[in-house]
Symmetry: C2
Subunit: 482 residues, 2 copies
């Protein structure tokens, strides 16, 4: 029989080797695995179950704000990708190219979509004629390919899954409103409420914005190793693509005008964020709202009482399953202790233990994954206690992450201190920046830290640019990022 | 203002040009459209909404039978695809090949998945060790690419969407049981109950089976032009892939054995089947269970009563929307008559008309799409009537299609009659076949008809092979197919 601590030992220490700890968790919890194809991962059923719950929560918000899903082609002819100059410059280096169809060499090679602006705009130019056709509010859930040199499970892979929204509006104001609505009402609410990950929101610098956009808004999350991860972006495309793809409409005033557009996306890398924000030495901690299994029932089996215990847990499951995502682990090749570790590694929010003595007393043991709290619960109170505990866990994960984020936003007196903190403590540094791209690039060269965003919340004060010392009123967040 | 019949005139006659009628419906109802990429379509929001409802029904059945979703890579290295000889022979001619990643030429070119057996088996060979790891019951919802020469929206496109199940079992019997469970309990129930399309089920001949399978089961549906469409297939892969990919397990008897596998799929071409089975001269007729909009409310607007009518329809919608998928068409650039045609073209099962006189009488007009039946309904009975009508429409569509199928299964006295019927009436011909591949191929050459399946229901009689005249007890269905 497999003993208690077998596999937990196989996980690297989070403290000592965060990177390897991350890979161990992702693989041992069976979220994803490597394949023989360089940079491509397989998302295993447990990881995909998590993704399905994440999708459900985000898809609901996308639809509630008036968007509809559609599906655009995987392939983009090279000439189409070339239409918007900045866009192609940004994406061409990482495009996978199809050059043969069966035995035939293609006349024009085709990009496997690295993002879909080009193909979608080519269709919008056919669909949009009058102001009555606007707005167009479309989203799609698809696979994306970017030929990455260095890859990491979920965080940076050659192929990943995402949703990408692409909208068309008749005015600049409406496009800006949409860009911000997606950022705050859709993405921020999804990431904070469902994934329990607090974010900092703001605008990207010119250097960091999306290739082809007017400007890009972003949500940035802090991982527990002190590095930051871009959790989602929302782009105001202005009229750049409208001009490149000739998307015009006849307005109410009978004048022909270029449309205004937005695009926005979040990806499977958020699964990586969940691992890195909430996980601990023992494994995953999944937020209850998206956990594939919210409650795992472990029968405590002795020979004489086996039948009785198995009947009881089956009964419990059937009572609970209309309210919760619940499973029983009744494998008999593993000890209960092994199973406790196994399901902790998998991050299941609540464990229920049922032994013969519990049955006699009409009770079960409930254990929380987030804080190891153990409760003896009378059967008649079980649904209520589970409900409350799942809510508490969701809130507790968020509050803990929020406290960690707040504790790791620092201000610095000068660039020397900046370098020291970035090297030793990491986290976010909140400081002034003169707005000059040179300073931004120099800081990156010297510290590997980039400007994550220019937060919406600015102050009426000013200070010295962290690099050149010039007086500026622009506060930014610097950090090393995934 | 747009007049009543403007666009219905733009649809080709179903009677006179079925092919063009089909394309017109798909495009005018905004299910899908062509793109600049040869053979690739865009699935528009209305078509994708239909697909989402189809997915929901099938995904539920797939999960209820114990399967879980996952995601495997889009790319398959050529060497992996080459491992199973029959498989690569069947698929290589239609593979799109990626040869460049960014500016770098790849050492080994990669297939864009034409189906995923090869990549999935390469992982199963790592995952499967013991009998305790079995069965593996996995499904994925993904895009697929096959380089087709002649394409038609939904029916045959270079890229399409599908689900593909891939399971692993410890015995031949269990694999066969799975193959049949998917065919009957999952696919047949989904296609007949949700899509209202009756099917004939049976086994494919050796010639028509899946490349690499032991045998293939199929569901065949009859379109209203007399041609047949393969609606789904379920393959017993035997141990062919297990041997090619070395997938072995240590059984309870401590012996190492090859696993037994199945795979099965249904695609977006079923959307095409819905169009061709249920549609009529006026457009789509969508089965209520999968219709993106089940009820469309049309306010009948006159200047004086406009406000009152708009308030009433808003009220109605908010009352109905917790039970039904309901929308209001309150655009004022179109007449009510134009809107009736428009939503009939889009196949919405029920239309509700509300005018000022109806409000005075506390009633609405309800019109069924399937048989044009018009009902005056008291407001208090509305939910009940809609519920009943949607059920009736679902059942009526199925019964009508079933009757058409039964009327178009014919028996023939000889090959002359066979040719005549295939040419003039089409439909299915139920006849004997000697089992010889030569006869099968000759019939195809001379009539374009193929053996659609060897039905499970055989009789104890025998008869003459339709081509060579040899005595045989094997009944088969011949038809021309999409």
């Amino acid at each position: 029989m497999q003993k208690d601590n077998d596999f937990v030992k196989e996980i690297s220490s989070k403290e000592e080797d965060f990177s390897q700890w991350y890979v161990d968790i992702v693989r041992k919890a069976e979220l994803a695995d490597y394949t023989t194809i360089k940079g491509c991962m397989v998302i295993r059923p447990y990881g995909y179950g998590l993704w399905e719950n994440m999708q459900a929560g985000l898809d609901r918000r996308i639809k509630e704000t008036g968007h509809k899903n559609a599906y655009f082609p995987l392939f983009i002819p090279e000439s189409l990708l070339n239409k918007e100059a900045e866009h192609v410059e940004g994406f061409a280096p990482e495009v996978a190219w199809v050059t043969y169809g069966g035995k035939e060499k293609l006349e024009e090679r085709m990009a496997v979509r690295p993002t879909s602006e080009a193909i979608i705009c080519s269709l919008y130019s056919k669909w949009v004629k009058s102001w009555r056709d606007l707005p167009i509010l479309i989203n799609q859930w698809v696979n994306i390919v970017r030929w990455e040199k260095v890859t990491r499970l979920f965080l940076r892979t050659t192929e990943f899954l995402w949703q990408e929204g692409h909208t068309v509006h008749k005015s600049k104001e409406e496009a800006e409103e949409e860009t911000l609505k997606i950022l705050n009402q859709v993405y921020r609410d999804y990431i904070e409420s469902d994934l329990a990950i607090p974010v900092i929101v703001g605008r990207k610098t010119e250097k960091e914005k999306f290739a082809g956009a007017l400007h890009t808004y972003t949500l940035e999350a802090l991982m527990t190793d002190g590095k930051v991860l871009q959790a989602g972006t929302s782009h105001n495309l202005g009229q750049n693509f409208a001009r490149a793809f000739n998307i015009k409409f006849l307005d109410e005033d009978q004048k022909e005008k270029y449309v205004w557009q937005t695009s926005w996306g979040t990806t499977t890398r958020l699964i990586g964020a969940i691992v890195m924000v909430h996980g601990d030495e023992r494994g995953l901690k999944l937020p209850p709202k998206v956990a594939p299994i919210q409650v795992i029932i472990i029968p405590i089996i002795f020979d004489q009482s086996k039948q009785k215990v198995l009947e009881k847990v089956a009964q419990l499951k059937s009572r609970l399953q209309s309210n919760f995502r619940v499973e029983i682990d009744k494998r008999d090749e593993y000890t209960p202790g092994w199973k406790f570790n196994h399901w902790e590694l998998k991050g299941v929010p609540l464990r229920i233990e049922v032994g013969p003595k519990d049955i006699e007393k009409g009770q079960v043991i409930v254990v929380r994954r987030d804080n190891s709290q153990k409760m003896t619960v009378k059967e008649e109170n079980l649904i209520e206690i589970i409900n409350k505990s799942l809510k508490d866990i969701q809130e507790n994960l968020f509050q803990k992450a929020k406290q960690f984020l707040e504790e790791n936003i620092r201000e610095v007196a000068n660039f020397e201190e900046f370098k020291e903190i970035i090297e030793e403590k990491r986290g976010l540094i909140r400081t002034y920046w003169c707005g000059n791209r040179d300073c931004e690039e120099k800081v990156k060269e010297e510290t590997k830290a980039t400007i994550r965003c220019i937060p919406f919340k600015q102050e009426k004060t000013s200070g010295k640019c962290i690099y050149c010392g010039k007086e500026s009123s622009t506060l930014v967040y610097f950090a090393r990022a995934y």
